[in-house]
């Protein structure tokens, strides 16, 4: 691919690695579905409240990728699955929150390139901060001493500008990575488990954040890890969405 003598031009989404590593480290070969939820606010603050009838919440386009695990455990990105999942999860989020009386506002792609760049940076930052929260809050061993288990994470002041442009008080961000095993992979997992290994047949890692666009703070955060379920179909996708939204402020 490259021309270099000693070239190395690989760009990789390290945060995914971080997320999986974080879960992998303390969950090991966990086989049950689990969700964890953490509701935001520092020790001195009230838990965030949301008037679902009035609040203006913009849904940021999902950061989502579905892959297939090959026999050897490599991940093959799947375009068609990703598109299906994007639709089902978006629809699921919209429907689930509508039931709570909240109408999500669609994100308006800014025409100005500086605005677009800022929003994309915020999205990237969310993925990174989200991965970090998982690592430190959910992995007991890796808790940051200064954070003392409190939820005090922020996307910074530029979030305010986005709030102004999108005419919204909150932004809902969702990050989801999902892998499914091929037949050959499933066979490899069976063999591996018989031999006492922890080879994964496929797993889902995701998190959602509600960001207060007036301050940039993450007001609510919830993470999801499971090795069952399917976001490629509407109905099971809705279950995943419900898990992801558990503890959503109201």
């Amino acid at each position: 691919m490259s021309l270099a003598v000693n070239g190395n031009g690989n760009i990789k989404g390290w945060y995914y690695f971080l997320v999986v590593a974080a879960f992998g480290l303390f969950l090991g070969g966990c086989t049950t579905s689990m969700t964890e939820s953490y509701t935001g606010g520092t020790a001195n603050q009230e838990t965030v409240k949301l008037d679902t009838k009035k609040a203006r919440v913009v849904l940021i386009p999902l950061d989502i990728k579905l892959t297939e695990l090959t026999v050897a455990g490599l991940e093959e990105p799947k375009a068609a699955w990703t598109e299906q999942a994007r639709k089902h999860v978006t629809d699921g989020l919209t429907a689930a929150l509508a039931e709570q009386g909240l109408t999500l506002r669609p994100y308006k792609k800014p025409a100005k390139s500086t605005s677009l760049r800022r929003d994309e940076q915020l999205e990237k930052l969310h993925a990174t901060v989200g991965g970090t929260i998982l690592f430190h809050h959910y992995g007991q061993m890796y808790r940051l001493p200064t954070k003392k288990g409190e939820m005090d994470w922020t996307l910074g002041a530029t979030a305010r500008q986005m709030g102004g442009e999108q005419n919204a008080e909150f932004a809902l961000y969702v990050f989801l990575r999902d892998s499914y095993a091929t037949g050959g992979r499933k066979a490899a997992v069976v063999v591996s488990r018989i031999l006492g290994g922890t080879t994964q047949a496929g797993e889902r890692v995701g998190f959602a954040s509600l960001v207060d666009l007036r301050t940039g703070k993450i007001a609510w955060f919830n993470a999801l890890y499971s090795d069952s379920g399917d976001v490629r179909e509407a109905e099971p996708a809705r279950k995943v969405v419900d898990n992801l939204l558990s503890g959503f402020p109201s």
């Binding site: 691919m1 003598v5 070239g7 031009g9 760009i11 090959t70 050897a72 375009a79 760049r117 994309e120």
Partner: protein
């Protein structure tokens, strides 16, 4: 990497012939063709679409419209049908590299643009990258990795070595194929074929400049053919046609000149002084203004700071001033070099000339304080 590394490659090669069947042939990607959404290739495209979005907002992309238009125009001279489906990103990093993603995201690093001497050399590099796209090397490589690892998932370390070795051998074949197609594209577009091997020869000169044996990647684990081999192959191809066609040094130098100083500053930070000296000599040969090149030569000596380097720096700065085209900072640098060699009077004079030439310089107050100290 592994304990058995000394004999492993040999074993791997012996096994290779037996267990890795040649991959099925892949047809060229047609201009504007998009892979079927259910295919593995569409997955790779999706992945690279995301990388492209990240690249756009990475802050490392050189957005100068004129430079981008120029490079794009050379791409279109190579192939009018394909160029419109490629997206060029000039990435600010001082190393020699370029890359092509399966979806047509093409990266050209500024270290490459600093090293190319003319349009013909740029055309060869772009042709090489375009060939990766047309020949769909990424998906070929992915399928090769997948097939090889699938068949060996239950085997141990050795299987991994065999798998990786065969995949890298496959990459080397892709590089050779791209060299070949890139060469044909640039010749067909009317460029002087003799410029193609020069790109590699300059890189060899740079690599070997400090006389030290660099840890050359082992034949078995490198994804690139030896540069020497690439030079030989291209030389043989170019020999019967050499000297015919466009070299295009003037338009090229003109297109990159606005960025030369910034890229040279990046280059200096690598602190590969012997290599950078080769780069500077090539820039001078390509027709970049001598004053500027001499200035950076002086900077190189001053930064390196070996025995006698300050004297060399002073010689270089003085010839930079004589040659014209040097940045005003040359007076400041010369002043610093004089000061360090305790030639205070000359130092003061150079600092004063700097302030006279750049009355609004940000460091005016600091330089003025130097002058006062030197009185």
């Amino acid at each position: 990497m592994i304990g058995a590394r000394n004999f492993a490659p040999l074993v791997a090669v012996l096994l290779l012939a037996a267990c890795v069947a040649p991959p099925p042939p892949v047809a060229d990607l047609k201009p504007g063709e998009r892979p079927d959404i259910n295919s593995d290739e569409a997955g790779l495209w999706m992945q690279m679409d995301q990388v492209e979005e990240m690249l756009k907002t990475s802050g490392h992309v050189v957005e100068d419209r004129k430079l981008n238009d120029y490079i794009r125009s050379v791409t279109c001279k190579l192939s009018a049908e394909y160029c419109q489906h490629l997206r060029l990103f000039v990435v600010q990093t001082p190393h020699f590299n370029a890359s092509m993603a399966p979806n047509g995201t093409m990266q050209v690093w500024t270290g490459t643009l600093l090293r190319a001497q003319n349009e013909a050399q740029l055309a060869y590099i772009l042709g090489h990258e375009m060939a990766h796209y047309i020949r769909r090397h990424s998906v070929q490589k992915w399928r090769s990795i997948r097939r090889t690892t699938d068949s060996m998932a239950f085997m141990g370390d050795l299987a991994q070595i065999v798998a990786m070795t065969s995949v890298l051998a496959f990459s080397r074949d892709h590089e050779r194929e791209s060299d070949d197609i890139g060469f044909d594209l640039m010749v067909k577009a009317g460029y002087d074929p003799a410029e193609a091997p020069k790109t590699w020869r300059a890189l060899l000169a740079e690599r070997d400049a400090d006389g030290e044996e660099k840890d050359k990647p082992s034949v078995f684990f490198s994804s690139h053919p030896a540069v020497e081999e690439r030079v030989e192959t291209l030389d043989a191809k170019a020999a019967p046609l050499a000297g015919q066609g466009i070299v295009g040094d003037k338009p090229y130098v003109n297109a990159v000149k606005r960025h030369r100083r910034a890229w040279l500053k990046d280059e200096m930070r690598k602190r590969d002084f012997a290599g950078t000296q080769v780069v500077l000599a090539n820039l001078a040969a390509a027709g970049h203004p001598a004053g500027d090149i001499k200035f950076f030569e002086g900077e190189l000596y001053r930064l390196r700071g070996d025995e006698g380097d300050l004297k060399e720096a002073i010689v270089a700065y003085r010839s930079a001033i004589k040659a014209k085209g040097a940045p005003v900072e040359v007076h400041r640098s010369l002043g610093l070099a004089y000061w360090k060699t305790r030639q205070n009077k000359l130092a003061r004079k150079s600092f004063s000339r700097y302030l006279a030439a750049a009355p609004k310089a940000e460091d005016r107050a600091m330089i003025q304080s130097y002058i006062d100290q030197l009185k």
